[in-house]
């Protein structure tokens, strides 16, 4: 992998989720707003009371790149990186695997999976959704 994520009190739930094969999205317990990336306060209502929902794990490519240079530690280039609009309405960055660069396009439907790095970390990865 590239580098390990910095994890803090406001993001622990997300990385605990990936270890459990869950893509978790922060949800405000006061107003219900979903949010990613997460943080300690709800920008919509100001509440500090928050939980999470488990996303369906499906989304649509909003933008993408094909990274060819320079090297990324422990990655064989090129790699495909996408901005993915989740069906729940939030957006996140992810690596797309098992797909040829020329097949990746804006609007493509993707499905999340989880790449277990070790006992303490799993990373979400995205593949073309099955029709």
């Amino acid at each position: 992998m590239a580098v390990r994520p910095m994890v803090g009190l406001d993001s622990t739930y997300f990385w605990e989720g990936t270890l459990a094969d869950q893509l978790r999205l922060q949800r405000c317990n006061n107003c219900g707003a979903l949010r990613h990336p997460p943080g300690p306060a709800c920008p919509d209502c100001g509440a500090l009371d928050r939980g999470f929902v488990v996303a369906a794990g499906t989304g649509t490519v909003f933008s993408f790149v094909v990274h060819r240079h320079p090297p990324i530690p422990d990655k064989e280039l090129p790699i495909l990186l996408a901005l993915i609009d989740l069906d729940e309405g939030v957006r996140m960055v992810g690596e797309v695997v098992d797909l040829a660069p020329e097949e990746l396009r804006i609007g493509l439907r993707l499905q999340v999976g989880f790449n277990r790095i070790d006992d303490e970390l799993a990373l979400p990865v995205w593949r073309k959704a099955e029709a």
Binding site: V3, S11, S63, H67, K75, L83
Partner: protein
């Protein structure tokens, strides 16, 4: 006393080292040399300096620079965050300090070995693991492999192309203009090395859709400015470059290089800067005979033209076509060659070019006789800043 910064301060002196790929000196020494040159340029002495401003990213502290210069006391010191977005804001800090009497002679400086030392274009584990909210923010990109500046910009560029029908060749117009201007600038790394749009299109892909020639250089060098009050500047040897407007900007749901969670992504933080520059100055885009727009990556030059109001949303590809942004065109940009052509000194060399245009000493002069102002911007994709410098207070 009116509550405005406009016309209260001026850049009186500019100084730089050579721009290279291997300076052979420490980053601190580069800042010392640039500062000494800037003081010499405006006839002031080390003992006149009572303020220093730089980037949060600069590795040479204000006190280290003061020690080397022999500055006895500092009354004002400050740093601006967010990479190259700091460039114009260092001048804003200095201008506010001298306008309010907090300090009298403030030097804004930046010196780095960005090619022979720490290369910003590489994937940096250190950036990903900063112990602060920037590091926490990077948890949502770096571990997946999205971590180089080119990659973060390419994500924005792809969406811009999709939304507005822009092409890689539209981005290439910026590279061609910059390199044309660098070709006649002896201080530019790419002096006498112009490129064609075919060269741009044939250059290798770095992060699709960005080619190598969409990406700025990596450079070693130092650049410094001396900022004093408008009154004092008039008594110094160089024609003053008055700070007509100075602004910072951060947009909604702002991140560093990865403001990806807004509906339209883009760079609305530069719109914040633009609106404030026009408000402070009372000027409009039509009042600018030229501009220096931060060009670490070509797509952001197009997006800046739109955010600053030089053209409408999605209209930049047409705006930059047919040599319009080259000397002799409707809005010449980056007449020193920009960071693609001259050097990447984190936007500070672009401010120096704006000063030279105000003075009439640029190697690619644009007439300011009818419209005596130049707009210059700082880093894009990050919280940023901008200046309008003028011949008149």
């Amino acid at each position: 006393m009116s509550r405005t910064l406009s016309g209260k301060a001026a850049i009186a002196g500019i100084g730089a080292t050579e721009f290279s790929k291997a300076s052979g000196r420490s980053e601190l020494q580069l800042s010392v040399e640039a500062t000494q040159a800037a003081l010499s340029d405006c006839g002031l002495a080390v003992c006149d300096v009572d303020g220093l401003v730089t980037f949060t990213m600069d590795t040479s502290s204000e006190i280290a620079l003061a020690r080397e210069l022999g500055v006895p006391e500092l009354r004002f010191f400050s740093r601006i965050n967010y990479g190259g977005g700091a460039a114009c804001a260092t001048v804003q800090q200095a201008a506010m300090a001298v306008a309010t009497g907090v300090a009298d002679v403030v030097v804004a400086y930046r010196g780095f070995n960005e090619r022979s030392g720490n290369r910003f274009g590489q994937y940096s584990a250190g950036v990903a693991q900063q112990v602060n909210t920037n590091g926490l923010d990077n948890a949502w990109t770096y571990p997946f492999g999205l971590g180089t500046p080119a990659a973060t910009v390419a994500m924005q560029a792809r969406r811009y192309m999709h939304t507005y029908g822009a092409t890689s060749a539209d981005f290439g117009a910026v590279a061609v203009a910059d390199r044309r201007h660098a070709a006649s600038n002896p201080n530019a790394f790419f002096y006498d090395k112009p490129i064609t749009i075919e060269d741009h299109q044939a250059s290798k892909m770095i992060v699709e859709p960005l080619h190598l020639l969409d990406c700025c250089q990596e450079s070693d060098g130092g650049q410094a400015f001396v900022i004093v009050s408008a009154e004092r500047a008039r008594d110094l040897p160089q024609p003053p470059a008055y700070v007509t407007a100075a602004a910072q900007g951060s947009g909604p749901d702002q991140f560093v290089m990865t403001s990806y969670y807004r509906d339209d992504i883009g760079i609305p933080e530069m719109g914040v800067v633009g609106r404030e520059l026009w408000r402070q100055s009372g000027l409009t885009p039509d009042d600018m005979p030229m501009a220096v727009l931060y060009d670490h990556f070509t797509p952001y030059v197009l997006m800046q033209l739109e955010e600053l109001g030089f053209c409408g949303r999605g209209e930049a590809p047409g705006f930059v076509a047919d040599g319009a942004i080259e000397v002799g065109g409707r809005l010449p940009l980056n007449t020193h060659g920009g960071q693609l052509g001259e050097a990447y000194i984190h936007g500070m060399n672009g401010i120096a070019e704006a000063v030279r245009q105000v003075r009439g000493t640029s190697v690619n002069p644009v007439s300011l006789d009818d419209r005596p102002h130049v707009l210059v911007t700082a880093g894009t994709g990050v919280p940023t800043s901008g200046l309008i410098l003028g011949r008149e207070a």
